[in-house]
């Protein structure tokens, strides 16, 4: 009997999405996780920047998050949006101005006292592999203060993974791949 570690097989490495991915991955309603302006809906949007502070016009952002009651979505329909089930997953192609947006819901805490966040994955031409990060909701300061990942970050770093809430209740969050204000990316 071989030990488990020996049986572990090495993962397939990632590669860039390349320049011409949009026609291969874009689908109708991909960033409309819930209907715009429906009860409980929120607009999460921002801009993706490179190390020179220029917008990146050929990036893709994906989000995946709990429902507003903190439950993990099990609803099918991440691809065909007609079912009105909450799939929790969204994909956005940035505009020529590097802007992405999602209509979704505010995730709730998955356990009492937990800080809610969107799991996010970023892809782009020139980015050799995917990047994981988190986009935390800014509202529950006690939960944010208790979050072990956030506690490991400096104040400047924390700001790169916590969204801002605007007057309309929507969320703004920019992603910077490099340089001043570089987003904190994560691995598992």
């Amino acid at each position: 009997m071989s030990d488990a570690r020996e049986a572990e097989i090495l993962p397939t490495p990632g590669q860039t999405v390349g320049p011409f991915f949009r026609f291969g991955v874009e689908y109708a309603g991909e960033n409309i996780v819930v209907q715009p302006y429906s009860p409980g809906s929120v607009l999460l949007s921002g801009t993706v920047y490179d190390g020179a502070g220029e917008v990146i016009p050929d990036a893709m952002v994906e989000i995946w998050a709990a429902d507003s009651d903190g439950s993990v979505p099990t609803g099918e329909g991440a691809r065909i949006r007609t079912s009105h089930l909450f799939s929790g997953f969204g994909r956005a192609q940035v505009t020529g101005a590097g802007h992405y947006e999602f209509w979704t819901r505010n995730p709730g805490p998955t356990a009492p006292g937990k800080a809610p966040f969107f799991a996010a994955v970023v892809f782009a031409r020139g980015l050799t592999d995917k990047l994981h990060t988190r986009i935390y909701l800014p509202d529950d300061e006690a939960a944010l203060a208790a979050d072990p990942f956030l506690a490991s970050l400096s104040d400047d770093e924390r700001r790169t993974v916590i969204a801002e809430r605007d007057a309309e209740g929507n969320l703004r969050h920019d992603i910077r791949l490099q340089g001043e204000g570089e987003t904190v990316f994560i691995r598992f």
Binding site: A4, L10, T12, P13, G14, F23, P107, A119, F149
Partner: protein, 262 residues
């Protein structure tokens, strides 16, 4: 030629940078750096210079939502979407027809069931349908080059398509990408999300290509190359290629192989 104006750097310079960067990776490993599958900081791929994080991604314990993945219903992908040769009423695309089949596994070797696999590729002449692809090779009115499927009970996917051509780009003078198909995969956890590229055996462009070589170790680059499989080849119809994909689990790392020497 005219598409590549003066001022672009020669292939020899790029190739030398690739060799040098791979050596630096080995030196970093010897000095205690962690092993990685793909280098984010890989300057021979010029577009990466301003697009790679300068800080190493932080190691975190995945939480609830990160340990699961979106669920796709069988009704969300039609069977015909896995046949890239049957998407146009006008007829079949030009090029070498082929079937690609493989298994999607986790790092324990267990099948990833009922998950989404998306592919996209250039046509037989090496041209993408994307409007910004200015490569002066013809578009094929019978080929779009995008497909998707869900893995079955055993984690198996299967596509019918045509072999893409090598594709010229402007990373440097006379730059050509080896023929490849882009793959996007979902696992059982969002941590397993993967976008990568599948290549064909024995491509002479491998050593010259900055994207293929953004993976610093040969044994890892080899994992991106499909195998010709005569049992998958159909008489008088299509060649068969087999390519298995392993999605890393949260615990999976790029282990030091036993007996490895630097």
């Amino acid at each position: 030629m005219t598409a590549n104006g003066p001022g672009l750097e020669p292939q020899d310079k790029i190739t030398a940078e690739i060799v040098s960067r791979h050596q630096q990776y080995q030196d970093d490993l010897a000095a205690g750096a962690r092993r990685t599958g793909t280098l984010l900081d890989f300057a021979p791929y010029r577009s990466s210079v301003l697009r790679h994080p300068t800080k190493d991604p932080r190691l975190v314990d995945p939480e609830t939502i990160e340990l699961v993945s979106p669920a796709y219903g069988h009704w969300e992908v039609a069977p015909i979407e896995s046949d890239l040769t049957a998407q146009h009423v006008g007829g079949e695309p030009q090029g070498q027809r082929m079937v690609i089949e493989g298994r999607v596994l986790d790092s324990a070797g267990q099948p990833i069931r009922h998950q989404l696999v998306e592919i996209w590729q250039a046509n037989a002449g090496g041209r993408y349908i994307h409007q910004r692809d200015q490569h002066p090779a013809p578009l094929d009115p019978n080929f779009t080059g995008a497909g998707r499927t869900l893995t079955d009970e055993n984690g198996v996917y299967r596509f019918t398509t045509i072999k893409p051509g090598a594709y010229p780009w402007k990373n440097h003078l006379n730059a050509w990408r080896p023929a490849h198909i882009h793959f996007s995969l979902f696992g059982n956890a969002v941590t397993q999300r993967l976008v990568t590229q599948m290549y064909f055996p024995d491509d002479p462009l491998f050593a010259l290509d900055p994207i293929y070589n953004s993976i610093p170790e040969q044994r890892d680059r080899d994992r991106l190359v499909a195998a010709y499989d005569h049992d998958l080849t159909s008489p008088e119809w299509a060649l068969g290629f087999r390519w298995d994909i392993v999605l890393s689990g949260p615990q999976a790392t790029w282990f030091e192989p036993e007996g490895d020497e630097h």
